[in-house]
Each structure stands twice: as C-alpha cells, then as structure tokens.
C-alpha cells in the first residue's frame, strides 16, 4: 500500500473520534445547550468500553457500553444545567473534571491490559483493488459508522420535522415553549445523544485506534471537538472536513519524525493544539458568520414561566 493511501487512511482514522464527538456536540448546541464536558465523556466512554471489552472479550459490546456510560454521565449534566438551571459553562467544566477523575479511577487496573480491538475491515477482492480498494473498503468499521452518523445527523436536522423543532428550540426556546413544545425534554434528548456520540468517540480511541487504555488518553480531543463545532459554523459537513484536517495535523508529528525532521517530538506534538487556536481565531473573527449560524440561544439559561 503506497504512502498516500496510508496517510489518507490514518488521517481519517485519527479524525474519527473527533467526528463522533463533534457531531454529537453539534446536535446538542443546535438545541441551544453548550456542553463543555465532552472531554470527560470521551474519557469515560473510552475506559468503560475498554473494561467491558476486556471482561467480555467482545469489543462491540465494549463500544455499546462506552456509549451508554457517557450518555449516563451527560444525564447528570442535563439535570444540573437544564432542570436545576445552573450555569452551563460551569456545569460542563464540572462534567469534564469529573469525567477525568472517574476514568482515571475506574481504569487504574487496566493500564497494561491487552485486548483484541476492532481492526480495519478487509473485503475479499474489493479491498485489494488498486488505489480505491483500501480507500473505500479498507477502513476501520467504526469509520463507516461515523459516516452513517454524519448522514443521519444531516438528514435529521434539515429534512425532518423533529430536526426542525430542535433547531427552533435552539433559535428561541421561549417561542418554542409558547407554541407548546417541551423545550427541556427536547434538550435532554439532544444532550443524551451528544453524550452517546462522545462515548463512541472515546471508545474508538480505546478499542480501535490504539487499542489500549491510558489515563487521559484523549489528550484534549474533547476540547478540540468543541472548537471544531465553532470552526464548522454548526454545519455537519464542515465538521467532517475539519475533523479530518485535524486528523492529518495529528499525524504530522509522526510523519515528520519518520521523515527524520530534526524537531523535538514535544514541539511537533504541539501542532494540533496550536492549529486549534489558529482555526478558532480565524473563524470567530467573522462575527457576522457566527451570528448567522450559531443557535441564538446557545449557552443562555432558559427559564420557563
């Protein structure tokens, strides 16, 4: 397999946890809720999926468990930020900190455990086709799942009535309530969906990408996912583009090392974070674009009558 194909495959894989987490958060933010706890939820998804995969020998069961655990965590966020009307920023931060602590605690005995993870597929005959073989049929199964998720989110938000309602809630919860929609319930559903997605993103890291469990293994991907949603101006296809761009930046450090570039590994490792800052600055600068695309009620506390 030639280098370019290899690079593409790896970039897509590297970007996939971001795809899951950012698509989930996009749906959450479209409903007007800002959940900063993505990092914590991804870590919990990672550790739970790893533990379950290790104990049951079934990696797919692990993925499901990881998604469920992260979703459960997001319910705590929903209760405090939506029902008890706490500040969304603070609650999201609390969720991240809690998730970091919980995952470190739960995974303490699993740091050197080895499991059989989910490996890239191989379709007889098709995967061996030149060039397109691997590019179309050689990805990790979860990558395909992420593409289906993208399609589902795009269709849901812009082609279904339920998606229209969700967008309306994000635009103006007061108006939605006045018409008779149950704003809090809709937001709960969005938050749980976002949690499950973040969980799958974390599970991908622990079960397919490495596969292993290391404390703090997301290394800030949850935060990068949040920045991605802004970068994508809340449009799903741009999330995909951004995630894969970041995936390739993440790879850059390994590529540079392999190519013998004489830059210390730590400095190369800074690239994704610096890139995130750069991207945020560029996008946020266009205040009009943000105003036109950001859900108008994002992060604002909502008090029904």
């Amino acid at each position: 397999m030639d280098t370019v194909t290899q690079l593409v495959l790896l970039s897509l894989a590297a970007g996939t946890p971001l795809v899951f987490a950012a698509l989930g958060e996009l749906v959450v933010e479209k409903s007007g809720v800002l959940n900063l706890g993505v990092e914590g939820m991804m870590l919990v998804g990672a550790v739970v999926s790893f533990i379950v995969a290790a104990r049951t020998q079934s990696p797919w069961l692990g993925v499901a468990a990881g998604a469920t655990a992260a979703a459960a965590l997001s319910v705590i966020f929903a209760v405090i930020a939506l029902t008890l009307r706490a500040n969304q920023v603070a609650t999201g931060l609390a969720l991240s900190l809690f998730g970091v602590g919980l995952s470190a605690f739960a995974g303490r005995d699993y740091m050197s455990v080895v499991i059989e993870g989910i490996t890239p597929i191989h379709v007889p005959a098709l995967s061996d086709l030149p060039v397109i073989g691997k590019l179309v049929f050689g990805h990790n199964p979860l990558v395909y799942v992420s593409w289906m998720l993208f399609a589902a989110v795009q269709l849901f938000l812009f082609r279904t009535r339920a998606g229209l309602v969700l967008r309306a809630v994000g635009e103006s919860p007061q108006s939605a309530h006045a018409i008779g929609y149950r704003v809090i319930a809709i937001r709960y559903a969005a938050v749980v969906f976002g949690g499950a997605c973040a969980g799958v993103g974390g599970a991908f890291l622990a079960i397919a990408y490495t596969p292993s469990w290391v404390e703090g293994m997301t290394a800030g991907r949850g935060w990068i996912a949040l920045a991605l949603v802004v970068f994508a101006t809340w449009k799903p296809w741009r999330v995909l583009v951004g995630a894969y761009l970041f995936g390739s930046v993440t790879l850059a450090q390994f590529q540079a090392q392999a190519a013998g570039v004489d830059v210390p590994s730590q400095l190369l490792a800074m690239l994704p974070y610096l890139a995130t800052i750069l991207v945020l600055a560029i996008i946020s600068r266009d205040a009009m674009a943000i105003r036109l695309n950001a859900p108008a009620s994002l992060g604002k506390p909502y008090h029904p009558e």
Binding site: R161, L164, E171, I179, G180, M288, R291, E305
Partner: protein, 522 residues
C-alpha cells in the same frame, strides 16, 4: 385615532356562550394575577378584555391557551368543562392565540414557522394553504420568505395566519396594534370583522380605549386581577371606560408652551451600519433637540430605533466626531461613560438586564450610572454616599420598595422604571433620552413619568423620546419626527401634523432623499 366605522351586528345575546370562565384565580409569589375572574364570550363576538398594564389580562389569556394552569376556577368550552393542559390541547379545542411578543423563529422561513405550530401532518400542501388563507383575509404572505427579512407588521401576519390555518373558533389577540401603523390597524380591524362574521369569536386584549370602542361588541374590564365591570364599549365614552379601568380619571399631564433654547443635541448625517445581521441600517439621520423642548421620534418597532439609541447613548461609538454634538462639542467618538460626563442621560428600553442589573440592589444600581456626588473617591466606592443617593431617588420618585437593598428584579415594572428614570434625572443632565418610557408600566407610574419628562423640559433640559406609542408622543412632544427603515423624517411641531400623516410616514411614504422604494404597508 382610528375613525370609527360601523361595527358589525351584535351576535344574538341569548346564544350559548362559546367560552365561559368562572372563578379563575392565579397567584404568584408577589401578586395575585387573577382573582375570581368570570368571563364569557359568545360565538361570532368580538370581546374586549380591557385593563391597564399589570391588570392580569395576559395571565388570563395564557390560562385559556394552556400556557399557565389556574390555581382555582373552571373553564367551559362549548358547553363542556375542560382543563387546558397545554397549547397543543388548546389548539385541538379550536382556540388560537396571537401573542404580543411573537413566537417566531427569525432564521426560518414563513413556511417552516407555520409548520412548527400547525399540528396536522400534511406538509406538502402547506405552502398553498398559506397563500390561500393569507390572501382571503387580507394578510398576503410568501411562504418562502425568511422571517428576519420581514417587518414587524408582516411578522404579525405570520402569527395570525398560523392561527387561522387551524380554523379556530376562538381567536385571542394580545395587544395586536402596538406594532402597526394607524392604516394597518384599520386593515386588521377589517380582517377581524370578517372572521367574526364567519362565526369565529375573538378575544381582544388591549388598553387602547378608542380601538375597543371602534371594534368590539362587549368588553370585560380588569383591574388588579379582578373584574370591575362589563359593558358595550360602543355605548361608552373613553372617560367612562377609563373610570372602570383605573377607578378614576385618566391623568393628563400639565403642559406649558415650550420656549426652546440653544440646540443641546445635534445629530448630523449619521450613518450607522447594523451590527446585527437582522438589524436596520441608519442612513443620513439629521435632527436637533433644543434645550427646553421635547422631541419625539415615532415609528413601528424594527425601523432603526435600536440602532439609533445605541449610537446616541454611546453604547456604539461613531468614526466621525461631529456626527453627534452634545452641548456644542463633538461627541461622536465618546463612549457612554464619557457622554454621561458631558451631561447626557439615557433611559433604555429594556429595564432588567440593561437599565438595571436584576440581581443587584437598588443602591448598587444607582451606582451603575451615577458617578457625581462623591460616590467614588480615588477609585474606591463610598458605601454611605451610594446608599444615600439611592434613598433620595426612591423618595423623590415614589418608588415602592422596602429599602435600597432590595434587588432590582423584585420591583414591579412601573416601580423599576420610576427608579431608572429617577436615577437618570437625578444626575441633572443637559440632555435626556428616553426609549419607550412607559412600556409595560401601570397608568399611575406612566403619568408620573410623563410629568417628570415635561417638568424636566420646563427646567431647560433637552429631551428626546423614542416610542412606539403614538398617543403618548403626541401628548408630550413639542416636535415630532418619524423613523422608518433607518431614515428620519423632518421633525414638525405637533400641532402642525396629524396622526394620519404620521401613519403614512411610518409606512415609508417618505420625502425623497434618495429614499428608494417605499416599504410595504404595515
């Protein structure tokens, strides 16, 4: 105001009421919003619910529409007792409501907005049905337009058509004319009469006596949550209705003839690009307010008032220093605090969140804009001076509150407005700008505030009032101008103009100053 036209024949009084409320009560922690209210509406009747701000009208309507649940009382709909748990159920019963504050989604189209509120599943035929219904009732709409491109009057059409598509048998209209020009009001009345003739009952909420007398068959009057009377408004005078509404005469401010002095606020060819993508751009706005006069700026909301006020107050600064002159000196580049130091004071449209910080005490809110009088010394706050300042405002303006430590959000709308107006006046400004000074304020406080503005004028202060209430402006202004689509008309003395002329200006039939296409009516 609107010329009374022959009202439609009264529906038969012995028909069974379509809606009958009995003993409805709703309590909130600070106030009893509805106290054993009885109300009945006949089929095909236009029934007014009259009362001043804070009388409980909105709450009663929310109860009927299922947004709020009553603490006590019953509701009978077409003969059977019902408990409306939510708006969807209200709609199923055949009740529709057009809110005072629209429940629309700016970034969505008319079609999408209506689809959200209409409960049937036939989405394909919806655009055709929207066109159909909107034409039939004189409220033409294009389903593909995005709401944020529409004027306020047009948005109201969306609200109404949204209701009409559900074929309501009772239509509730909550203060519908505050966003309409006088001509558009007449047009709305025609629509409502057509509906009533078809058998639809209409509940018309308002505090505007002339409108009710022109439009409605019957009126129920609310005061402080209780029903104080029921009548046929066509047989009453404004004075008798006012007596039922507030228990006394409508107060009229004391007016003296104005003697205007030097120009204190001069705006010269002000061009402001809208900050908000859905806002209005101001073009070549020029006018002057002299010491000792009140200039009023009328206009339907959404025509640039927000942008103009932000530019005048200093919340948004200009590139050209001479675009705005305060007391003869250029002030365009100065921020809000600097303009205050030059003698400007401003009462904003939003009380909570802009004019005052809701969670802070009145004392702290006094400190918000007051820096004179030794409240701050070398950067440090003098607590006693601040408390004394707040106490003086509370006292001088009759603000009803236990003390200066009460949080701003614990005050009623009228009292908080009195405090904010009082705070700004207490700074002895040379120029005072007031936006919607009596919106949502009870009649007593309204009268007090209007009188305070007039007294200020008599003391030689230049006063600018920007308001959507044309009656109020015509009452207190010396000169009047109209803002429409970001342009300002030539201010004219009040006695030299009429409500009709103002109405035309509001609709955009402008003097040509490169004005371009006049706006759609409404």
């Amino acid at each position: 105001m609107a010329a009374p036209t022959t009202p439609h024949a009264t529906p038969a009084a012995d028909a069974a009421p379509r809606l009958a409320l009995s003993g409805i009560t709703k309590r909130y922690p600070a106030v009893v919003a509805n106290d054993r209210v009885d109300l009945d509406v006949l089929p095909g009747e236009i029934h007014a619910v009259l009362g001043e701000n804070g009388a409980g009208k909105s709450t009663l309507m929310k109860i009927i529409y299922g947004v709020v649940t009553p603490d006590a009382g019953t509701m009978r709909w077409e003969g059977s007792t019902v408990q409306v748990a939510n708006p969807a159920q209200a709609r199923r019963l055949g009740i529709g409501m057009v809110f005072q504050h629209f429940s629309l989604f700016d970034t969505l189209t008319v079609g999408e907005n209506i689809r959200l509120a209409v409960d049937d599943t036939d989405a394909k035929s919806l655009p055709a049905r929207i066109r159909d219904v909107s034409q039939r009732y004189g409220l033409p709409l294009d389903p593909r337009r995005h709401v944020h491109t529409m004027s306020v009057g047009e948005r109201q059409r969306v609200e109404i058509v949204r209701c009409l598509l559900q074929k309501p048998r009772l239509l509730i209209m909550d203060e519908p004319t505050s966003v309409l020009t006088p001509q558009a009001v007449l047009s709305l009345f025609d629509t409502l009469r057509t509906l009533a003739a078809e058998g639809c009952s209409i509940l018309y909420i308002s505090h505007k006596l002339d409108e009710i007398r022109a439009l409605c068959h019957r009126a129920t009057v609310l005061r402080a949550g209780k029903v104080t009377g029921q009548c046929d408004p066509r047989r009453e005078t404004a004075a008798s209705l006012a007596r039922m509404m507030i228990g006394g005469e409508l107060p009229h401010p004391q007016h003296r003839e104005a003697t205007a002095g030097a120009p204190a606020l001069v705006v010269d060819a002000l061009d402001v690009r809208a900050a908000d993508p859905f806002g209005t751009t101001l073009r070549e706005i020029s006018f002057a307010v002299h010491a000792g006069e009140i200039v009023g700026i009328a206009g339907v909301s959404g025509n640039g008032q927000k942008e103009l006020l932000a530019a005048l107050s200093g919340e948004r600064t200009q590139a050209r220093r001479n675009a705005i002159m305060l007391c003869g000196k250029p002030a365009g580049r100065l921020g809000a605090a600097a303009r205050r130091r030059r003698g400007l004071a401003f009462v904003p449209e939003e009380r909570l969140g802009r004019g005052a910080v809701p969670e802070m005490s009145l004392a702290e809110n006094a400190l918000l804009t007051t820096r004179k009088g030794g409240l701050v010394r070398r950067g440090f706050i003098r607590g006693d001076a601040v408390r004394a300042c707040a106490a003086k405002i509370i006292d001088a303006f009759g603000v009803r509150t236990p003390n200066a430590e009460a949080a701003a959000r614990s005050l009623s709308g009228g009292n908080l407005q009195k405090f904010i107006v009082g705070r700004e006046i207490s700074q002895q400004p040379k120029v005072l700008i007031a936006a919607q000074p009596t919106w949502g304020v009870d009649v007593g406080a309204s009268a007090q505030i209007r009188q305070a503005l007039i007294d200020l004028r008599d003391q030689g202060v230049a006063v600018l009032v920007v308001s959507e209430e044309l009656d109020e402006l015509m009452e207190i202004s010396d000169r009047l101008a109209v803002i429409a689509q970001g342009r300002l008309s030539e201010p004219k003395p009040v006695h030299a103009t009429s409500a009709e002329e103002i109405g035309l200006l509001m609709a955009g039939a402008h003097r040509t100053q490169g004005a371009g296409v006049p706006a759609a009516v409404g």
